[in-house]
Subunit: 136 residues, 3 copies
């Protein structure tokens, strides 16, 4: 069986945001076994799995990745959408815009310390859409 | 139901190439709901989702990622396949060699600005094989 | 049909380790067509597909990525779990903690030169758990 829904995230400021609870609230009753696929329908945002506890992990992500993929790099030609735009595209492909998570015993089967990060790479990204697909 | 096919891409020059239309032409009639999985069967190429409009995004990708993961880094030991080989392996794992895309209403459910990039990391990669799996 | 199992990897030293054979030994008899999904249940380890032949590819990965995402970067605030911890979280999201691989003719349908790398980003990561889900 396939259950699919498209939802809109609340606008998030630039950075790494734990959305595991938000995702769970928007899912149907989960099957005993299966997979959840999540697609972020944007090219300047991303989704990844990482540490769900200490918020400094998320702020360190923002600080370090801004150095690894900086704004105003002299090679950028695609600059007319703002200094934050081309780095946002690069980061979106480095992190990825989609993930798959196993479902076991009617719950997302993540590790104890794993959570789902939605990542807003733009300064003012606005509302973002995601597609949730549950396979069982 | 599972439908699976293996196809060969035309040879692409080094860089980031929009292949959404090519993929769609090689898919069977899509189900109402489902998932499409794509694997690139090579370790010096990749696949990712990114902006489908301005070609400068794709040339900026090539220019910036060549700086982030350069040729001739002094740490490389694996150099006998050419200066472009070890960076190609690194880039393949940073971008990934496989993606999953939701299918909704018999179509790939990507965002308005999203397209599928095939990425050729070698100077002369030749023909590349991909596996398409449609789940419904 | 969905078959799912959770297994524990033997402890690996920091670095990139080819585990294709180990995964195959822990799978049920594979269907004619399908998909295998693998999740690493940790935020300081990863999984990726790359070259399965020359071991210098794996040691070059370790050497180069340690430069790209170094320890002791001055921006890190999350330092109390050790110098190797915050870089491990960053690397885990850059490489990813989950992959999907097509199954064709009862076998994993990887390219000739492709293997599955488990990546241990911590100095002493210990035993790590993965979830294997076979869809057919």
């Amino acid at each position: 069986m396939i259950q699919q829904t498209e939802i809109t995230l609340p606008p998030f400021r630039r950075g790494y945001h734990l959305i595991t609870g938000f995702i769970e609230k928007n899912l149907p009753a989960l099957p005993e076994k299966g997979l959840l696929h999540i697609l972020v329908k944007h090219t300047s945002a991303g989704i990844t799995i990482n540490e769900n506890a200490d918020p400094t992990v998320r702020t360190d992500f923002e600080a370090f990745i801004n150095k690894m993929i900086p704004e105003k790099d002299p090679v950028y030609v695609h600059t007319y959408e703002g200094d934050d735009d081309m780095p946002a595209h690069l980061k979106s492909s480095v992190f990825g815009a989609e993930i798959t998570i196993p479902i076991t015993n009617h719950r997302l089967n993540l590790g104890t310390w794993q959570g789902i990060y939605f990542v807003e790479f733009r300064n003012y990204g606005g509302s973002r859409k995601i597609v949730l697909t549950v396979f069982s």
